[in-house]
């Protein structure tokens, strides 16, 4: 492979995607230009530089002068009152921890906040638009509501202006006091809701196996009754689906606006790395799922060609439009000038910091505990970051230099992390992604050829 790929639309036109600048042009035109697609030399130079002792640590240290620390994630508990079947911590995933009774102490939380704000204020001097942002994670964060309250109170006392607070919750633990607290502090709350009662209760269950839809729906009503504006503006839903999902049902549920269901903010497919999750479905179920997606896609494309984009449903927006828009708005005509992470969608460790219940710092709330990048007592550890990134280069990035679509990559540490380091699982994960991107680009360009305007496609 090399840093480009070609594709042919349904109308028989050939195009070339050039990964070096991110552009797509008709093959005929690009034949007249000489483009050097192989980058092995540059990659080796970069690789040798990064492997030099101290290079990464120095680079990151310099980077922290004006960057990083945009968000603090506090994993305040590893316990949850539910046992959702597909949860990262359900035991289904070889590379992740499982639920435990570990929880964060206020002392640890305070140290994390102090460390974060100390760096944040430095960063804010370079970018005065930034506001501190704190997100609580679990387990179920509302199991530790008292701790959340104490942390919020402490932060408001020591920081002079607005702080953005948020968390994702299963939505089962809410009462009047909690709701009023969330409203008062303008919390942005994301509720996990997988669709209608059937679909939601299929996977999102209590320890005794009972579904949770009714309870969440009741709680939505409570919030809306107390403050409808808050409910509409600050509450969102995150939905997950898999091969067993009735995709038409999911579409119907999120297509019609419902008074007591918050607006959708994301639809995620349940992660298939480091798990046998999808082996539970038969070949017939898989085919049925693929067919449903195909039908929905054709409906969406038909809609795009014939209707006003502003009439689009929430489902179509998050299931089709946004992923396609990400392809369409890939970075173009710019240099990928980050020498320590030239490939993959990984951020620089420390761009956000996630603190575990024990006070160890990790680069993201979604990674496991294999590589900490410091702790709340001693701060960020540059040697740990170097160690982690060298492992990442050796296990992952080494194979990226001739990837044909680095600008479309959405994979990061969270996809590749194992209990020992980093790896690809399944080992053809990149090839599968490439195939999918190529298919989507081919479909999209075919539609554009048929007269779909860029403006029509992008609101």
């Amino acid at each position: 492979m090399s840093r480009y790929f070609t594709f042919e639309t349904k109308n028989g036109n050939e195009y070339i995607y050039n990964d070096l600048d991110g552009t797509i042009s008709p093959l005929e035109i690009s034949k007249s230009k000489k483009i050097e697609y192989d980058c092995i030399e540059e990659f080796e130079k970069n690789y040798n530089r990064v492997m030099n002792k101290g290079y990464i640590a120095n680079w990151v240290n310099e980077y922290y002068n004006g960057n990083g620390f945009k968000q603090l994630n506090l994993i305040i508990t590893e316990e949850c009152n539910l046992r959702c079947k597909y949860c990262s911590f359900s035991g289904e995933y070889d590379n992740m921890r499982i639920h435990s009774s570990n929880k964060m102490s206020f002392i640890t939380a305070r140290k994390a906040v102090d460390l974060y704000l100390k760096h944040f204020i430095k960063i804010k001097r370079r970018n005065l638009f930034l506001k501190p942002s704190v997100t609580f994670f679990g387990g179920e964060p509302l199991l530790e509501f008292e701790l959340i309250k104490n942390i919020v109170e402490y932060m408001k006392k020591i920081y002079p202006t607005e702080i953005l607070f948020s968390f994702t919750t299963n939505g089962t633990i809410l009462n009047k006091e909690i709701i009023n607290f969330l409203i008062e502090n303008k919390f942005h709350v994301v509720f996990s809701l997988n669709g209608d009662k059937n679909e939601h209760d299929r996977l999102r269950v209590r320890k005794n196996g009972n579904g949770t839809f009714d309870k969440i729906y009741d709680n939505f009503k409570k919030i809306a009754d107390i403050d409808l504006q808050y409910f509409n503006e600050n509450c969102n839903v995150l939905a997950c689906y898999d091969t067993g999902t009735d995709m038409f049902g999911l579409k119907d549920f999120f297509s019609n606006e419902k008074k007591y269901i918050p607006k959708l903010s994301r639809i995620n497919k349940i992660n298939g790395s480091y798990t046998n999750w999808y082996s539970r479905y038969s070949e017939d179920q898989r085919k049925q799922y693929i067919n449903s997606c195909e039908v929905l896609k054709n409906e969406y494309f038909k809609f795009l060609n014939t209707s006003n984009i502003n009439e689009e449903t929430e489902f179509n927006k998050y299931f089709f439009e946004i992923p396609l828009r990400m392809l369409f708005f890939r970075p173009q005509n710019n240099k990928q000038n980050n020498p320590i992470l030239p490939f993959s969608a990984s951020c620089i460790p420390g761009d956000k910091i996630s603190v575990s219940t024990a006070g160890k710092i990790y680069c993201c709330e979604r990674v496991n505990y294999t590589f900490d990048i410091g702790d709340v007592d001693n701060g960020i550890n540059l040697e740990n970051i170097s160690y982690m990134l060298i492992k990442y280069w050796d296990s992952i990035l080494k194979k990226c230099f001739n990837c044909p679509m680095t600008r479309f990559c959405t994979f990061c540490y969270a996809i590749f992390n194992t209990k020992e380091g980093f790896d690809r699982d399944p080992n053809n994960i990149c090839e599968n992604k490439f195939k999918k991107v190529k298919e989507e680009i081919t479909d999209l360009w075919g539609m554009f050829e048929d007269g779909l305007g860029e403006k029509q496609f992008v609101r």
């Binding site: 109308n11 028989g12 036109n13 552009t23 797509i24 042009s25 008709p26 005929e28 035109i29 004006g66 001097r125 370079r126 970018n127 005065l128 638009f129 930034l130 506001k131 002079p160 202006t161 607005e162 828009r325 990400m326 708005f329 970075p331 173009q332 005509n333 710019n334 360009w445 554009f448 050829e449 048929d450 007269g451 305007g453 860029e454």
Partner: protein
């Protein structure tokens, strides 16, 4: 031949609005205003119609349409193909990320007023002017809030600020104060550009005194045939430029009459060079000499999401009041002594920086809005409405 399709190259962006249509060519920054027929034809090519289909749809002969389209090919704006192709418009960087104002914002110009006094008495001093930010303005004397201004400088020099512009009055009338402020900025670690707006009369006296701080001087110039002025003459400015080279910058003050003076070659208009690499006079065939700058992709996308001038501006007056622009005195964002800097950036400034011309009455339906420069201060002072545009050089 009948079923040929014209595609524009990806560096050519067609903007079609209800009032007019334009073609932006990022290859050399040209902007072409299209007449109705050209606009219609290009719109149909963008929709994927062949030459023959366009000819039928518009009801004009095939040869006539071919002639129109050939013009684009000859000027290297497009090419013919046998099939309908999709050519993606040129984009730069990460468009979705760039729309977020908190992503890597830059303060291009921070205006610091340190004087109201001036030794000259120009007739037009009190007149409202377009782009007055690079001009001096004499006012009654008031006591300067030195500590407040230093507090502001101390704050701003650690941000992504590219230039400080000291202005007045004439700051050179009080060289000690000017030196104190400049020295303070440099000592606090500011290594961007420092400009001083002055009428230029005292540069000879002060140049050596400030040389170690690498200061640039911006001098207003006006053609004395059109306005009575005590400002330096062309010859005097050229003498200064010869002596001090690149440290002397010039602002050309336009009057309605002096718009006609584009043949005046001896002065390079540094005002524009501070913001735009080049100023072009004959870009639009029917709008010669109106000062539309060249528009590369960066500028195009900047103007799409931001105000062409206000983005990256911040100003503080002699008393410590902070404004989005030194001449938008009705838009006081707060006083430095009230610890308002965080509040200004987190809540107030975004409204001004993100005021793209698409949000302005009279501009939203104009396809040239991504090429236009706009002086909000002049407009607001004239008609008090931030979202209205009356002065349009393109009308």
């Amino acid at each position: 031949m009948d079923n040929k399709y014209l595609s524009l190259f990806n560096n050519c962006v067609f903007v079609n609005e209800t009032r007019n249509s334009s073609l932006y060519d990022f290859k050399d920054g040209s902007v072409y205003k299209l007449d109705m027929l050209n606009s219609e034809v290009i719109m149909l090519t963008k929709k994927g119609y062949s030459v023959l289909e366009i000819s039928k749809k518009i009801g004009m002969g095939l040869n006539y349409i071919m002639n129109i389209l050939n013009n684009y090919v000859e000027n290297e704006l497009g090419f013919f193909s046998e099939n309908k192709l999709f050519i993606e418009e040129y984009k730069i960087g990460n468009i979705l990320l760039n729309k977020d104002i908190s992503f890597n914002p830059v303060i291009y110009r921070c205006f610091i007023e340190i004087s109201y006094a001036c030794g000259l008495n120009c007739d037009f001093c009190d007149d409202e002017k377009i782009n007055q930010c690079y001009l001096c303005h004499k006012q009654g004397e008031k006591k300067i809030n030195t500590n407040g201004i230093k507090k502001f400088i101390n704050f701003i020099v650690n941000t992504n600020c590219l230039s400080l512009v000291f202005h007045g009055g004439d700051p050179l009338l009080n060289p000690e104060l000017l030196k104190e402020m400049i020295k303070f900025s440099r000592n606090k670690g500011f290594n961007g550009k420092i400009f001083v707006i002055t009428n230029g009369k005292n540069i000879y006296k002060i140049y050596d005194y400030l040389e170690e701080y690498h200061v640039y001087y911006i001098i207003p110039y006006i053609d004395k045939n059109y306005m009575k002025s005590e400002l330096l003459s062309v010859d005097e400015i050229i003498d200064l430029k010869n002596k001090y080279n690149d440290t002397i910058k010039i602002t050309k003050l336009f009057t309605p009459d002096s718009f006609k003076l584009k043949e005046e070659k001896e002065i390079y208009f540094d005002y524009f060079s501070l913001k735009n690499p080049e100023i072009v006079y004959d870009l639009l065939k029917d709008n010669k000499g109106l000062g539309i700058p060249k528009v590369d992709a960066n500028r195009f996308y900047h103007n799409k999401y931001r105000h062409p001038c206000l983005y990256g501006n911040l100003a503080i007056d002699l008393l410590g009041n902070i404004y989005p622009c030194p001449h938008m005195k009705n838009d006081n964002l707060g006083n430095i002594d009230e610890n308002v800097i965080y509040d200004i950036f987190e809540n107030k400034l975004v409204e001004y920086w993100n005021l793209s011309l698409s949000k302005l009455q009279n501009c939203s339906d104009c396809s040239l809005k991504y090429a236009c420069t706009d002086c909000r201060a002049y407009e607001v002072n004239k008609h008090k409405e931030i979202s209205k545009k009356i002065i349009c050089p393109l009308k």
